[in-house]
């Protein structure tokens, strides 16, 4: 009788390129990115951090609705998105709005999603994505389907989906990675392990030492990546994408990260389940600080660059929130109209009733 758990678990080592000091520790894995691309990555991370801060403020003023803070997870979110092509398909979780924005979702629509307005989910045709999934893990099974569809159509694209550490406990998670594996479908499954599923620490979520190792049972590749290192996340996603479009099947990528803020802005209080020491420990790994140091050492980033992005972000946000606020209020007749291609008789009747009510 031979057990292999220890052997398997010890195989999963965290993949890192930039350490906390912004120094390259893994030169061979350094992705082939131009100076302009490196700067663009930084620009997006800074912009997204500002967007997060402003979104929190707007939520507190009652000008936004549901909002799940993103600070801390920029490298995981934007590093992976940066490896995508325009025709790749994103199936995000509820915190993954930044990936949608950088893939082409207009900012005002992201705000409308937050406000609970259906127009926020009426994506532009050129954006290949679903609106953020609310049911934990549901996107994983759907990603297997999108990926199989891409494969059947003979396209050189991938389906990429995101969940968190908690999401890996759902049946849908296992079903999704297993189906994609069974069909060798071009899917990339990202688990942003930010240590807490609302309040429950990952240690209580599973007895597995890593979440990446869950790939083994599905017979697919898996890797654990430093989720605070944008270059490592980018490199891992790009490699997964190459494998996927070459017919080598799906990959599970666990990014080790941390959300600096609360779970959502709906009353979550992280001090109930996280210590200040832990927060401080993770803030030292801030993906922006690390990447900024790296770029500064290469003379690619200055305070001036940073301020320019901050101003640009603030200006865009101001315009977008105004546009979102100008969107006409939803009416029950709008909601009825979105139910079916052709309204069934009960809804035709109700449409008339509500039209009359709304005309008063």
């Amino acid at each position: 009788m031979k057990y292999v758990l220890d052997n398997v678990e010890s195989q999963f080592e965290m993949f890192q390129i930039l350490n906390e000091d912004g120094k390259i520790v893994n030169k061979n894995s350094m992705p082939d990115l131009s100076d302009e691309e490196l700067k663009e990555l930084m620009r997006r991370m800074v912009y997204t951090r500002i967007l997060d801060q402003r979104s929190i403020a707007l939520n507190r003023q009652g000008r936004l609705g549901f909002y799940a803070p993103t600070a801390g997870q920029e490298a995981s979110q934007l590093g992976s998105q940066f490896a995508l092509e325009k025709e790749d398909f994103i199936l995000p979780g509820y915190r993954d709005v930044p990936q949608l924005i950088w893939q082409g979702l207009p900012l005002y629509q992201a705000f409308l999603f937050s406000k609970g307005h259906f127009h926020g989910n009426q994506f532009p045709d050129e954006l290949h994505a679903l609106s953020p999934q609310i049911i934990i893990g549901a996107q994983y099974v759907q990603a297997a389907g999108v990926a199989l569809g891409i494969k059947k159509r003979g396209k050189k694209n991938v389906a990429i989906t995101y969940t968190g550490d908690g999401g890996t406990s759902q049946g849908d998670f296992y079903e999704g990675i297993n189906f994609a594996g069974a069909y060798k479908a071009p899917a990339i499954f990202i688990v942003q392990n930010n240590r807490f599923a609302i309040s429950v620490p990952v240690e209580k979520q599973t007895n597995a030492k890593t979440l990446a190792q869950k790939s083994v049972a599905a017979g697919i590749e898996g890797i654990q990546v430093d989720g605070m290192d944008v270059l490592a996340v980018y490199a891992a996603t790009q490699a997964a994408r190459e494998r996927a479009i070459n017919g080598e099947g799906p990959t599970l990528i666990e990014t080790l990260t941390y959300r600096f803020g609360p779970h959502t802005m709906s009353g979550d209080d992280p001090t109930r389940y996280r210590t200040e020491d832990m927060d401080n420990e993770w803030e030292k790994r801030d993906p922006l600080v690390r990447f900024r140091k790296f770029l500064e050492s290469k003379k690619l980033w200055t305070e001036e660059d940073e301020n320019k992005v901050i101003e640009e972000a603030k200006e865009d946000i101001k315009k977008a929130i105004k546009q979102a606020e100008e969107q006409p209020k939803q009416k029950v007749t709008d909601l009825i109209g979105n139910m079916f291609e052709e309204l069934p008789s009960n809804l035709q009747e109700q449409m008339e009733i509500y039209k009359e009510k709304e005309s008063k």
């Binding site: 307005h117 599923a197 959502t264 709906s266 109930r272």
Partner: protein
């Protein structure tokens, strides 16, 4: 007597039963140290320890299966589904498994499980959190479905549910959690499952509702009073089984009925109530029984809740129709 919000009364009911019966276990996502996302289990883990009150991994289906398994080991599980909008993830455990445990084993096994969950709308949750899915549950034979509308009843009904030897779906309307306080006795008492309650007496029309809509009915009744219309308000409190004795008694008194539900109109609890009334008391009716319900759409995005949810004005409109019929 203490003044409590409904959520405090719910916590108190679990505290009473955790004390009373060592087989009671409370678990779910974030219910431990965090005390639940609505704080329904606040302080219970500190008081009773992690053996009795504990966090589960994030999987509703797992929570349902775990409850069934623990019940088979003689425990009395009180699992929480964080929002009832997530119930689809656990529908097999509830409808496919626990509802038929007694039936398919000829009484050899039972499922004394109380599934608690916040439901209903009006508090601007994200998509798929809010909904009124009690109709789904009421259609499943083998389940009791309880929906309190006051703190007093929430505590008494929850204690009854936990002591019940069959599965009970206990739905807590999110908008009622903290919207008002009411008197709640200390210690143990029960409110019987399957019994409706006349919340306000009246002679001209009967309003039948449950959950948050009871309060919309009371508000409508208050307004109607100004127009000289005396409305009786019947709170079903349990939507499966329904207490038709109380319903019919009121119908025979007022001869006019409006049934109110927050859920969409089609195939809901109200439709069932209307059907039973006409079968059992058609000769007592002076007007057709009308319904107030939401439009047959998916539950709206949060910014449209106000225009979509039924309210006291919709009730008054329907009352005027049955009164002037």
């Amino acid at each position: 007597m203490a003044q409590m919000t409904m959520i405090q009364a719910i916590t108190d009911a679990m505290r009473v039963e955790l004390k009373n019966d060592e087989n009671v276990l409370v678990f779910g996502e974030d219910v431990g140290q965090n005390g639940g996302v609505f704080r329904a289990t606040e302080g219970l883990q500190d008081e009773f320890g992690e053996d009795r009150v504990f966090d589960t991994p994030l999987a509703e289906s797992g929570i349902g299966g775990l409850a069934i398994g623990l019940a088979l080991q003689g425990y009395r599980p009180v699992p929480e589904i964080q929002f009832f909008g997530f119930v689809y993830e656990v529908i097999d455990s509830i409808s496919g498994q626990m509802a038929r445990m007694r039936y398919r084993s000829g009484g050899h096994h039972t499922a004394p499980i109380t599934v608690r969950a916040p439901f209903g709308g009006g508090v601007h949750t994200p998509e798929m959190h809010a909904d009124s899915l009690e109709g789904l549950m009421a259609q499943q034979p083998g389940l009791k479905v309880v929906i309190p509308s006051t703190p007093y009843e929430a505590k008494g009904l929850l204690i009854s549910a936990i002591r019940d030897n069959d599965p009970v779906i206990f739905l807590e309307h999110m908008k009622l959690y903290r919207s008002f306080r009411g008197e709640v006795p200390e210690g143990e008492y029960t409110v019987e499952i399957g019994k409706a309650d006349v919340k306000k007496e009246g002679n001209d029309v009967t309003l039948i509702a449950y959950g948050a809509m009871v309060h919309a009915c009371l508000k409508a009744a208050e307004e109607l009073e100004k127009d000289g219309i005396s409305a009786e308000v019947v709170d079903l409190r349990t939507v499966s089984p329904i207490d038709y004795d109380t319903v019919l008694e009121s119908v025979k008194k007022t001869n006019r009925v409006v049934v109110v539900q927050e859920a969409q109109r089609q195939a809901g609890v109200a439709a069932n109530v209307v059907a039973e009334i006409q079968e059992r008391a058609i000769l007592h009716l002076e007007a057709p029984v009308l319904r107030v319900a939401a439009a047959d759409t998916i539950y709206p995005f949060s910014d449209a809740e106000e225009v979509w949810l039924p309210n006291h004005q919709d009730i008054i409109e329907k009352v005027n129709i049955v009164i002037n019929f």
